[in-house]
Amino acid sequence: MSAPLRNDAVFWLASCCALVVLLLFAFAVGKFPIAPGDLLRALFSRLSGTISGLPEAVDTVVWNIRLPRIMAGLVVGAVLAAAGAAYQGMFRNPLVSPDILGVSAGAGLGATLGIYLGLSLVFVQIAAFIGGLAAVACVYYVASLVQRHDPVLVLVLAGVALGTLLGAGISLIKILSDPYTQLPTITFWLLGGLNAVTPDDLAVTAPLMLAGLVPMFLLRWRVNLLGLADDEAATLGIAVDRLRLILVTAATLSTAAAVSLAGIVGWVGLVIPHVARLLVGPDFRRLLPASLLLGAGFLVTTDTLARTVAAIELPLGILTAVVGAPFFLWLLARSGRLS
């Protein structure tokens, strides 16, 4: 049967409430023990502008450590899911993720190179961001040189090829890197994580991530038409190549910023749009907000688990797969349909 929740205002309200509850819960747990009373006092005092009288450590943990981390989880999750939804529609394939054009591989290579060269953290992030953008730009340029029937297929093939090449570059640098200092750092970066997010990081990357969402929102109706064959879409009145370029640019901007902040976090861009589609259908007017909500909630949940469940901090990329895959399989079995 078709997705049951398409027009359901109750669904949207419930999702938003669930997200808020999740956020509060994420705020309340962590390695640093804070009594619920203290947490409330810290929240009130900041909101009302008074002094909380709590030890400086509590304030720092709540506002400078947990808050940026949770916000980062929200935005990164939302952005990756939205980009995935846009790509799946654009490439007419429910198995596509935002990494398909090589943005994660490019960002990974940029960061790995930065760590290998001993650059400071800020430059590692910048290198990751630029690497991600450059990789997709290369893919787009190469694809534009090929005049073939199906521009979408050419893009995907070029993306896969370049992604593999960049991955080989990453592996090469790993071999050459210092095994005591650089290699662990590179490995942790590639596995993804939000443990090092500072308010400054967020202040710089959040606007970039959100900026990419703006075109996606404005063009949310026209994205639907990209699921048709190029010729068909053109006869319905849209400039297909230009629309695709705008969307890819927007999605890449957001994804590159997200990867530079959180490392390579897979699975969110692939599976969350799926789940959203199962719930609200493929119409991007509804799929976009659904993906944003689900992606944000999913990543905040996973990150909260990553930082509380074990004695040590678990890599985010691994956890998203471990948490996401069984849930997705269960959902699949229930609904009996892929898209």
């Binding site: 078709s2 949310r220 006869t235 119409d283 898209s339």
Partner: protein, 276 residues
């Protein structure tokens, strides 16, 4: 009032593979023109060129009085509707959403379909007799219903010219008749229709004029009774005229075929043997 389509000396084809030359045709408003031609005659390429999807390689094309090059994509979509052959959808959009896609050219770049757009979509579906499919998934309905939905989508564009690529191809007999009647009705409302078909009898039924295309060249244009006459069709498709006649009128052309006055025919025997 300018013609819907005015092609003059048109050469069409792909960059390294020219397909047709010296194609000249005029289609007026309120006229249905059917294109007949064997496979590989260049119909698809011609349609793509007329729709502005392929650049012409020579000659001129004017759509609704304006040269092809002077049309913007969006304006073109507001005046010309294209109905491709029905395809299986990938994502389960609702039929309503599919038809709404036809309204895109009339929706602002950053807007979403309005209540009025939804109304128009519903009306288009009703016109084709498939209003009950409004909320159904496009991927779940039959091939024929999909074709009707695509026709509704083109109508939602509120065009003055309709270009249809084999619109009856996957339809059952009843739906075929409905579509042809719809084309009649549209023509009566002043729509210009250019359609291709592999069914000469459909062309005879609905066309004001028939054009014969082969090898990228326009062989002839004229009234249905002339163009869809057996000898012309036989020459076009490379079969015998008697075979054409037999196909069109339904009389068996096999040597030694029985007629109704002979001994119990095969079908009856089969029928009896099917009795429980």
């Amino acid at each position: 009032m300018s013609a819907a389509i005015e092609a003059s000396g048109l050469a069409f084809g792909y960059r390294r593979r020219p397909v047709g030359t010296d194609f000249s045709l005029v289609i007026e408003a309120g006229e249905v023109l059917c294109l007949l031609g064997p496979n590989g005659s260049g119909k698809t390429t011609l349609f793509k060129t007329l729709l502005g999807l392929l650049p012409p390689q020579g000659g001129t094309v004017r759509i609704l009085g304006r040269a092809l090059a002077n049309w913007t994509r969006t304006a073109f979509a507001r005046h010309v509707g294209y109905v491709p052959q029905a395809h299986a959808g990938l994502f389960p959009f609702r039929v309503e959403d599919v038809v709404l896609m036809g309204r895109t050219a009339r929706i602002g770049r950053f807007d979403v379909p309005s209540r009025h757009d939804h109304q128009v979509a519903a009306e288009c579906l009703a016109m084709l007799g498939i209003a009950h499919l409004l909320k159904r998934d496009y991927t779940e309905i039959s091939g024929g219903e999909r074709q009707l939905a695509l026709i509704a989508r083109a109508l939602a564009q509120e065009p003055k010219l309709l270009v249809m690529d084999e619109p009856t191809a996957s339809l059952d007999f009843g739906n075929q008749i409905r579509v042809l009647e719809q084309i009649d009705a549209l023509r009566d409302q002043g729509m210009a229709v250019l359609m291709s078909t592999h069914q000469p009898e459909h062309a005879r039924r609905v066309a004001d004029r028939i054009a014969l295309l082969d090898g990228g060249r326009l062989l002839a244009v004229g009234l249905p009774q002339d163009m869809a006459a057996a000898p012309r069709l036989a020459a076009l498709y490379g079969v015998t005229a008697s075979a054409v006649r037999a196909c069109l009128t339904g009389v068996a052309a096999r040597p030694g075929a029985r007629t109704s006055s002979s001994a119990p025919a095969g079908p009856e025997r089969i029928e009896r043997s099917h009795a429980p």
